[in-house]
Symmetry: C2
Subunit: 411 residues, 2 copies
Amino acid sequence: MRSSAFDFSALFARSLPAPAVKWTGAPRFSFVGGNNDPDVVPVDALRAAADSVLSREGNALSNYTVNTGPQGYRPLREFVAQKLKRDAGISCTAEDIVMVSGSLQALDLVNAVLCERGDTVIYEQDSYQGSINRMTRMGVNVVGIPLDEGGMRMDALSNALADLKARGVRPKFIYTIPTVQNPTATIMSEERRRELLKLSEEYGVPVFEDDCYADLIWSGKRPPAIYAMSKTGGVVHIGSFSKSVAPALRVGYIVAPWEILSRVLSLKTDAGSGALEQMVLAEFCKPHFESHVPVLRSALRSKLETLKESLNEQFGTAAEFQDPPGGIFLWVKLPDQVDAMRLYQKALAAGVAINPGPEWSVDAAHSKSRIRICYASPSHEQIREGIAVLAEVCRAEFGVPARSANVQKRA
Amino acid sequence: MRSSAFDFSALFARSLPAPAVKWTGAPRFSFVGGNNDPDVVPVDALRAAADSVLSREGNALSNYTVNTGPQGYRPLREFVAQKLKRDAGISCTAEDIVMVSGSLQALDLVNAVLCERGDTVIYEQDSYQGSINRMTRMGVNVVGIPLDEGGMRMDALSNALADLKARGVRPKFIYTIPTVQNPTATIMSEERRRELLKLSEEYGVPVFEDDCYADLIWSGKRPPAIYAMSKTGGVVHIGSFSKSVAPALRVGYIVAPWEILSRVLSLKTDAGSGALEQMVLAEFCKPHFESHVPVLRSALRSKLETLKESLNEQFGTAAEFQDPPGGIFLWVKLPDQVDAMRLYQKALAAGVAINPGPEWSVDAAHSKSRIRICYASPSHEQIREGIAVLAEVCRAEFGVPARSANVQKRA
């Protein structure tokens, strides 16, 4: 890492985000990021998949899109279509899908097709930081809709749409993570999905459905995708293999009508997403996806149990949360005197990384004392130790949990 | 591929590029794109690399950056540092490198750090279409500097810089492909690189060095990178494995001072570039890169010979070109009456894809009768047949080459 005698500073574009700080390694206890359980990566099956697909089609790597066109590696698109039909009730073909470099690229592309500075979009009040930040960077206004145990509240959405309409504002989309919402882990019921579609059509505001956690429901049962339930086609659906196979394989997808896909493709000037990752995934998924996912869920659920036990033990009643029906994170409410931003900083200094609520919410007041704890990546032991350290830091800073918390367990 | 009853059209962002046309397969003879020779993809070595790196480190795929941080897979950065030292005279370490998803992402990131609407940049007059188009999309003015057999002309650059300065314009960078320039295939001499750096420093305009073809010089000998020759650090250097290993592996890199890399990293919100591709490449490159590249060069050079023979045979003196010292394309001047844009359309209708000069140039008049022919991907037979079809189309449209061209060969 070297710096330059040449002065670049006068040449920078205006309103760049702050420069990155040099990475110095992961914290001792990391409860952040969509990282997964290292022990459940299906390494041997991925090795076999890599070997067979390379030996059969490796020469095609000489072509940017391995001769299957700009929508992405066709066998993987075919697998996605079949998977979405089986799991999410979506009828589509490989033609209705564009493979992308992780669902973050899906967000970038769909946002760029529909949004520009000054526009308005509707989000769940607590939502994925990476998605909220993208809007902020683009100068797009985000209207947050409160959630309850069933996800985005339709009464509040109806009011917000009416209010915006009265002010002459037509939002560009309603962004939702309906199936294991990030960070609340709620699942929107089929009935509520129907109401959402009704409002979407009534106001002419499309739904942007981010379904990246939908494979990780403990029961294995999920409501149909909103995309599947729409009769008008006013839904853009995105998904990913980051959560179900491995995040470092940067492979996601967009399912949408051609009106949207043709715009996405003209903005996707990256000469294709990584083909080797798509090829290996397709080769792995066809025989193994269906049996792999339950193994992963079981490992995640077991870590969630450890996390809940640790929180009960260390925080007692000071940590409130709903039992998530799936996913990789827990959204925890701490007592009102806890400033989650300060807790985040102090905990990080003590080697524990957590996500402070205000970074995962459109409403900083609502999320002031909330934190997101990701439990997929740390080991059971790290979960226990890390939560103990977090409790110490929280007690030292805010006086909660009380030192006797471990005897004030929930019933 | 389905369309929607929901009307998205009123919701699109303004000034989107035209929607993509549905891909219907590759043309019969494709002389476009950076695609490579399928027979030279080192499939067996890549299989072995995938197997060994996955068996050793496959579990790390559970982490977005395989535990080596946001700058990319560390063993690959270490290989790049060593390769750049050996081949390009660059002294740098893994800390000075950010791995990206192909050099197209490098262009996007560096452009976003330095440029905004209304800015000015300096390019070689004929240059890479994908790079010129990015500037056009961003609303950045591109000033083209004429080339001669030695690449960008320094007298013209000096005049342009003085002229811009007199008008109060400080360009954001001088973008150059100095080592096998795209599309002219010229190599800028060491002496001229020195002059370029002198002008860059005099005017405070950094150099943006795109070195993605530098491995493909027939002689194996290249001048030092401009980055290596700079004493002030006012150079951003980018490269890629697309041309030297396989384009469908979307792996490139940026070498720059931390002032630039820290800004690049804060804009690189993709949660990391594909790790499997980086891991397989690192594992392949360490033992095999040095021996693989000469095999590739030899295959490419042999295809270039076939292309030159075919052009001489079919076009005779109507096709003028310099003999390229390396690369994957030939920049051909046709007689003045040939409108390359029209030739491109007519040829495509006949199953032959070529790049029309005006799309690869800042000066449409200069390049009106020029075309770029990529020769790495088609077979020798396809080159011969495709050039014969191209000559027929050109003759039918423009009367050149004359039917007797095949007896008017160059001396």
